[in-house]
């Protein structure tokens, strides 16, 4: 998307939020908090997609990776009685699922879409088959209020009074942006995703880098799953990721494969959900919820159709790398 339009859109939204804030502070803050909260798993999952695709691997198995990690994280925490351990188990499971994609898509050079599809089907079947009732989390994830910053009007209560996962998601987006565009690792990753043969010539181990990146990205999917089970919902239910892994793909594209862009895109779609449900609750306007739900997907398709060529995925994405 031409950056100008992104800035104009962003400006309009920010202006709208400020006006709303002066009209009704409580509603504005609570709707914004809802939006951020809604966005957290989407931000993390979109980062998974960005790392993988920037490395040249399509990951449509994010949904399954999240579900499996949420399952492992929840039952891990419930059994060990330790939320931190549960989170680590979730992240570890995510990395295993990421490693699974890496073995399939990188080592075995399987079709990447099929590898991702297998993850989704397997995760749905297994978590449902192995689910058991009667487990409860040992505690509640803490909400951390950052002193001073949290006192800033509007921004403070929304951004600086959250659970640890929320801070993690924002920090990871910023750090990943820095890593991708300001470090050697980022340069190598992007070259492996754009022109692997050139990267290979210059001595970068294409396969190894892809393998490592895809595996570690799985860890972020694990974090997203752990967030859903341990903080957001406080429970695990069958299939409760409810398509968020696919929404994340839309967000990844909408954010132009840029971590910061994806973060804002996720918050934007969270905002559409928050505003729509607030309008419904206040009996102002009942927008059919289906339209709100399809918005990210419709906008993504429109965007791809309108600006193809100017915004495009890494060139080598989807292609296994083979030396001659």
């Amino acid at each position: 998307m031409s950056a100008r339009w992104a800035y104009i859109l962003g400006g309009v939204i920010v202006a709208g939020i400020v006006v709303a804030f002066f009209m009704d502070e409580i509603r504005t803050v609570s709707v914004l908090s809802f939006s951020l909260r809604y966005a957290v798993p989407l931000i993390l999952a979109a980062m998974v997609g960005i790392i993988c695709e920037r490395s040249g691997v399509i990951n449509i198995g994010i949904e399954g990776q999240m579900l499996m990690s949420a399952f492992a994280g929840f039952f891990g925490a419930a059994i060990t009685g330790n939320l931190i351990l549960g989170t680590l188990i979730g992240i570890g499971t995510g990395m295993i699922m990421g490693g699974f994609l890496a073995v399939g898509a990188v080592t075995w050079k399987m079709d990447q879409i099929i590898a991702g599809t297998i993850i989704n089907i397997l995760a749905t079947g297994l978590t449902s088959f192995l689910y058991a009732q009667g487990y409860v989390l040992p505690g509640v994830t803490p909400t951390v209020r950052i002193p001073l910053l949290a006192d800033i009007p509007l921004v403070g209560p929304v951004l600086f009074n959250n659970g640890l996962f929320t801070y993690a998601a924002i920090i990871i987006s910023i750090v990943l942006w820095g890593l991708l565009f300001r470090t050697i690792w980022g340069l190598r990753t992007r070259s492996v995703g754009e022109k692997p043969s050139a990267a290979d010539t210059s001595g970068i181990g294409v396969q190894r880098l892809r393998f490592v990146n895809v595996t570690f990205a799985g860890g972020l999917a694990g974090l997203a799953g752990a967030y859903l089970a341990l903080e957001a919902a406080g429970t695990f239910e069958r299939g409760f990721t409810a398509g968020r892994g696919f929404t994340a793909l839309a967000i990844m594209i909408f954010g132009a494969w840029n971590p910061l862009g994806a973060m804002f895109a996720a918050i934007f779609f969270g905002l559409t959900q928050g505003v729509a449900s607030q309008l419904q609750a206040d009996e102002v306007l009942a927008i059919p919820p289906q339209f709100v739900n399809m918005l990210p997907y419709v906008l993504t398709i429109v965007l791809l159709a309108a600006v193809s060529g100017r915004i495009s995925p890494p060139a080598a994405v989807g292609k296994p790398y083979e030396k001659d």
Binding site: G134, L137, G274
Partner: protein, 384 residues
């Protein structure tokens, strides 16, 4: 009973073997490393499953007259079948309550009970047919959505008794009894309590979809009850969209949080896992159980959602377990009513909030419940 644990281990091992046996030269070390990590973690995740199989042999504990369904046709044998709506018997909601009712009836009668979990709504009739083909005496079909399948099956099998949970019968069929509940009354009583208890005069509700009548009746009844107790109060109701309405706990939690931060101090969560997500979120709020409360639905959620115990004021109960068991027992005694059977509703015990709710509130609520029961109070709720 570590069967599921073992199962997970085997899958992990199979994946490991698969990746070892054919990993190629290049990343062989990487993949084995990833795989060997897999084994321990995968086993941990499965460990919770240990208890599950216990549920599967409920009739064992019964004064065993009928121990299997090999000869349900024999008059001395009593067989109870249950078909779930697309859901599981451990859904902490209506499928589970109905199944508990069926198990209880099996215990009392010395009968045998078994269930099938529907995975595809197109299979309703076929799943019922599994039981009719073995000449089961009573078949419980759970959920509003199975209504038409129940009618068709009941007409085709006139000697089998059917209990249709949440299925209102327009035209009475002698061997099909719709177990229906005045959800609006339960919602009204819960709302009345909330209206008396609120300090902020703001009340919330996070509900499943309004396209399912029992959910809407709960919601509208709740609102009417609040306003009857406290005309000054402001009630905010949000419904999930129909798609995935009962399995989105994250959404339920986020909505509950939003209502809390807008000043609501009592929130009604009704809608399967979605509503449960709301309850769990409210229990985390500062002041939960003192100034902030949640109200559950269907069964006493003090037991089904233990994470919510801290905030749980009460639950707007449908005595689904009792109603199901009663109807099965009636069938056993040859007194199966047919048509519609009105189950009981009410409020669950206060449990942890017993001391927080003032006595005069308790007595007022009791009076309202009595009034609703004898018809002197009407909720005024109708579904348009």
């Amino acid at each position: 009973m570590h069967r599921k644990l073992l199962a997970a281990g085997v899958i992990a091992a199979a994946l490991v073997l698969a990746s070892c046996s054919s990993s190629t030269d290049e990343a062989a070390t990487d993949s084995t490393a990833a795989a060997s990590e897999a084994a321990p973690a995968e086993s941990t995740e499965a460990a919770p499953a240990e208890e599950a199989p216990a549920e599967e042999a409920p009739a064992d504990a019964a004064p065993a007259l009928t121990t299997d369904d090999s000869n349900c046709a024999a008059p001395e044998n009593f067989c109870i079948g249950l078909v779930t709506d697309t859901g599981k018997v451990d859904d902490k909601s209506f499928n589970q309550s109905a199944w508990e009712g069926a198990q209880e009836a099996a215990n009392v009668t010395g009968g045998f009970a078994k269930f099938i979990e529907t995975t595809d709504p197109k299979d309703y009739l076929n799943n019922i047919a599994q039981f009719t083909s073995k000449a089961y005496d009573v078949i419980v079909t759970v959920g509003f959505l199975m209504g038409e399948a129940s009618i068709e099956a009941a007409k085709a099998n006139p000697t089998t008794n059917f209990v249709g949970v949440d299925q209102f019968q327009g035209e009475a069929i002698p061997n099909l009894t719709g177990l229906v509940f005045p959800e609006d009354k339960a919602g009204y009583a819960a709302g009345y309590l909330a209206g008396l208890m609120t300090k902020t005069n703001k009340l919330g509700a996070v509900l499943g979809t309004d396209t399912v009548p029992p959910v809407k009746l709960f919601g509208e009844g709740y609102k009417a009850g609040v306003l009857a107790a406290n005309p000054e109060a402001d009630v905010t109701i949000v419904y999930h969209e129909p798609n995935n309405a009962f399995n989105d706990p994250e959404w339920g939690a986020a909505e509950a949080k939003k209502q809390l931060s807008q000043g609501a101090d009592i929130i009604f969560g009704a809608g399967g896992n979605t509503g449960n997500g709301a309850l769990i979120e409210i229990a985390k709020a500062p002041g939960a159980g003192e100034t902030i409360f949640c109200i559950g639905v269907d069964t006493d959620q003090f037991f089904t959602v233990p994470q919510a115990q801290k905030c749980l004021l009460t639950s707007a109960e449908k005595k689904l377990k009792q109603g199901t068991a009663d109807l099965i027992l009636a069938a056993k005694d040859g007194a199966f009513p047919g048509g519609n059977f009105l189950g009981n509703t009410g409020l669950a015990p206060y449990h942890n909030t017993e001391a927080v709710v003032p006595d005069d509130v308790k007595s007022q609520v009791d009076a309202v419940i009595a009034g609703l029961a004898d018809g002197s109070i009407e909720t005024g709720v109708t579904l348009g």
